[in-house]
Symmetry: C2
Subunit: 233 residues, 2 copies
């Protein structure tokens, strides 16, 4: 799949979707190296490069870790499905976006163990503030963007949370590293394409909180989502 | 400066440097809108889009906020310069990378108030874990990458920390939002170009913590930095 796409930077930023369905094909090592190279080009606090990326493929500890994660992802989705009311409202209509999302999520968690590569993005930062994330999530985003450039896709998740203790023991992750994200990766079954968000003028203020600038306009033809915060917020 | 570069996605990821010296020129609103559009294409937890971007330009509250931030950045750099021993060792040699970095930092903080645009990246997440950052730092990275595509540059910083209370009052930032980053933006005085990191085989493990895979190789010709963790870590 190497370098098969020659996508521009701005287009890549606008069209990197969360990908949760993967073909049953491995990611060649040379592509995985490129993806991680891109990830590690991201900034970290004082360029300490306090990030570490642990890839889980087919070795015995990796298979065991994927299994532990799979259980957690299935439990996480089951709880979220109920909490967020995926079966109610338009969820009763099998063709609604909500129903399609629910089916994708179910397939994603049911097949978690078959995910070609799972990356655990870890970081040695212990300020105990949101700033800890500043040394790992930019790299996670680079990783997803690079995957997209090379014909792959993935999604940033946090469902390692409930099984973190077990994972740490299994994979010998030292105490001083936080697990920032679990990122499954593979060749997409579906397609990348324009992501949908709320209109820009609901997300951008100028000069003072709540002051929406005239210039905060999406490019012509942008399609929006109704997900996210209410307009009045 | 709009769309003047047509850089590829992978190249963009590998060459987006922290930019701290800016020409004394504004960023046209249409470019700022494009940069923020790219930022908001990043993922957030459950696509809640819990991020908000507050731009500081030339309005009275923005100027006041830049001034508060400038003081904090100067104090932050003064403390860091001492703590990290910028004057010692190779810092005595005016041509050393350390001395050049120190001069750039000094110029950056001394001229902070003249920064064309300062973006405060805020997020409404209160899990109290590193995962809060997962809904804002991917967007910060998209913002920096988009700026680079359009001929601008910036840097992700956390020196709003010591003056956060004052800033919140001045800009009326609600309690439920965290300030994740302060990102100055402008037209670079210098150039973007390949970023330097530790070798990939110090940052990537496969299957188990500490197991370096053979495939974790940087592209040929990659230049490294000696900053960051010692090789043995």
């Amino acid at each position: 799949m190497s370098d098969k796409t020659d996508i521009g930077l701005l287009e890549g930023l606008a069209t990197t979707r969360a990908i949760r369905r993967y073909r049953n094909e491995p990611i060649p090592s040379e592509d995985l190296a490129k993806i991680l190279f891109s990830a590690t080009r991201a900034p970290t606090g004082s360029n300490r490069q306090s990030f570490r990326f642990l890839t889980l493929q087919d070795s015995p500890p990796a298979v065991a870790a994927k299994s532990v994660l799979g259980e957690s992802f299935r439990a996480g989705w089951a709880a979220k499905k109920t909490a967020d009311g995926y079966s109610g409202g338009t969820g009763a209509d099998a063709d609604s976006p909500k129903s399609r999302m629910a089916r994708t999520m179910q397939q994603f968690v049911d097949n978690f163990e078959q995910t070609p590569v799972v990356v655990l993005a870890c970081v040695r930062e212990r300020h105990g503030s949101i700033m800890d994330g500043a040394s790992i999530y930019p790299a996670c985003q680079n990783l997803l963007l690079s995957a997209r450039a090379l014909g792959y896709g993935g999604v940033l998740t946090g469902w390692h949370g409930p099984v973190e203790t077990e994972l740490r023991e299994l994979l010998q992750i030292p105490d001083e590293y936080l697990i920032g994200a679990t990122i499954p990766l593979g060749i997409p079954e579906g397609n990348h394409g324009p992501v949908r968000r709320r209109p820009l003028n609901e997300l951008v203020y100028d000069g003072q909180w709540g002051t929406t600038p005239d210039w905060a306009q999406d490019p012509e033809g942008t399609r929006f989502t109704s997900a996210g915060p209410p307009p009045a917020h």
